[in-house]
């Protein structure tokens, strides 16, 4: 397959994803926007107004980047896990598998879909956040890099989950029992500097902490962890997950016999 044909195939997958995301916007875009708005209202405005500033920032200012990142993480993950699982379940994954598209292009298509949904949801949540807080951008490059890398990472993670999922339970167990706790404990609502030293060290084992902090640094210029460490963690996990996905596709896990 020539480079131009591969590009056309990639654009086709992207278009299909985009059409799907907007066709079922009430499932893909609206819920995270509504949920995050409630966080802004309850935690940011009602409770946050009674809390002391964190790192010189009002509480709502402090949590906005983390809440945007939470919606990006969840949306990217859920897009690939559900999309891949349903394609596998309905067997329309075969449409791609019988085509000359190489495995890496199929992977890129699914991951790009997850990234797109993450970015779309993140954009709408960002718009909503402007009703509650003034946001300045401290470093646009760090901000964009953190968003893109995190959404790629969680799209890959969703794809791994989708490959292994054997039923509808399989696509909800990891988000419910792994992703959600890690996200909530990932420094969205607090700075780990407020913790005793032991719990600070425990918190550093949570990879989501680094993503939230990288993103927060891009917006506010504050982070619990040096930014280069945040990006090192992001790059490391992305490489590991890419290798796993490539291996699973090479083996045809869950889709080929």
């Amino acid at each position: 397959m020539s480079a131009s044909k591969m590009w056309t195939a990639y654009l086709t997958v992207m278009r299909k994803e985009l059409v799907r995301i907007f066709r079922i916007w009430a499932q893909t875009i609206l819920p995270p926007v509504v949920t995050t708005s409630l966080y802004f209202i309850v935690f940011g405005t009602f409770i946050g107004s009674q809390l002391a500033p964190i790192q010189g920032l009002s509480y709502i200012q402090f949590i906005v980047p983390g809440l945007i990142m939470m919606s990006i993480i969840t949306s990217s993950y859920m897009n690939t896990v559900s999309n891949f699982y349903f394609a596998k379940f309905m067997r329309n994954i075969d449409e791609m598998l019988v085509s000359p598209m190489p495995d890496w292009l199929v992977i890129a298509g699914f991951v790009s879909g997850g990234v797109m949904r993450g970015l779309i949801v993140g954009f709408f949540v960002l718009l909503v956040s402007l009703f509650f807080s003034h946001l300045a951008i401290f470093n646009i490059f760090i901000l964009v890099a953190a968003v893109l890398m995190t959404s790629v990472l969680f799209s890959l993670a969703g794809l791994i989950n989708g490959v292994y999922a054997k039923g509808f339970d399989g696509i909800s167990i990891v988000p419910t029992f792994v992703l959600t706790p890690l996200t909530y404990l990932g420094g969205i609502f607090y700075s780990i500097s407020q913790f005793p030293e032991f719990w600070q060290k425990v918190s550093l084992l949570n990879p989501i902490l680094y993503m939230v902090n990288a993103f927060r640094y891009g917006f506010l210029g504050v982070s619990d962890v040096p930014v280069w460490i945040c990006f090192s963690v992001l790059v490391g996990f992305t490489l590991i997950f890419t290798a796993i996905v490539a291996f699973l596709f090479k083996r045809g896990m869950g889709v080929k016999n």
């Binding site: 654009l11 309905m90 067997r91 598209m101 080929k256 016999n257």
Partner: protein
């Protein structure tokens, strides 16, 4: 003439231990209309799966127009259009989108694919339904949509895995006419079907597979002549009964 499909000592054993193909060898010549017959579980779908890249072989060789289906899979796949047994399109997508998106996977730009889709959808009686979600189509229309999707990239080899299963007589005859036209225009066709009359009417070459082995592989004319006045159905039943040592 070149071989559209060349299979040599092809083996497939599934992880469960089931030996689906026990070293089969066959050729499908370019331009042929080839019937691949056999009872359920004989290995037909496994063979098709290997040719289309959905199943990994465990031994032997399989080539499409000279390109190995595993080591040169991308090139081999460009030649194939597959109509699988089960409906496997996204029922929430519109008819035209399903066909045009499939073209995109083969690197055909959208504008071109929309143009290419028009005559195919018209030929298959789906043009009026092109803006409808696939879930609103009747069973026969869904079958035709599967064919339209398989043809959008103008494959040289069309593989049809029981394309007329559950289709009424009138529509089946319409599909026969369509497939004959495709074959006359140069498309090599491999057809698996349980309607033996269909194979007899359409195909020039026939292979019967049972328990992962090829029982016969010859031209339809030779086969029918060899068995005198018998119909393909009688020959097939004798063959399978003889092989299985039981009455079907």
């Amino acid at each position: 003439m070149a071989s559209a499909v060349s299979v040599s000592n092809l083996k497939k054993t599934y992880d469960t231990g089931v030996e689906a193909l026990k070293g089969i060898t066959l050729q499908v010549e370019e331009g042929d209309f080839f019937a691949l017959l056999g009872p359920n579980g004989a290995g037909k779908t496994t063979l098709i799966g290997i040719l289309t890249g959905l199943v990994y072989k465990t031994g032997g060789e399989a080539e499409i127009f000279g390109h190995d289906t595993q080591t040169d899979a991308s090139r081999a796949k460009t030649y194939i259009g597959l109509v699988p047994q089960e409906f496997n399109f996204n029922i929430f997508e519109k008819v035209e989108d399903i066909v045009v998106t499939q073209a995109g996977y083969y690197g055909i730009p959208r504008a071109q694919a929309i143009k290419d889709a028009e005559p195919i959808l018209k030929d298959l009686g789906l043009w009026e339904k092109r803006r409808e979600p696939a879930q609103k189509l009747s069973g026969g229309m869904k079958r035709r949509l599967m064919i339209a999707r398989a043809l959008i990239h103008k494959p040289k080899l069309l593989i049809l895995d029981e394309p007329t299963a559950g289709v009424d007589v009138e529509l089946r005859r319409h599909m026969w006419t369509f497939l004959r036209k495709m074959n006359a225009e140069g498309t090599t066709i491999i057809l698996t079907t349980h309607y033996l009359e269909e194979a007899e009417q359409l195909c020039r070459t026939v292979a019967v597979i049972n328990k992962g082995e090829i029982l016969i592989n010859e031209t339809m004319q030779n086969l029918l002549e060899r068995y005198g006045e018998k119909k393909l159905e009688d020959i097939y039943i004798n063959l399978i009964e003889g092989e299985n040592g039981q009455t079907i």
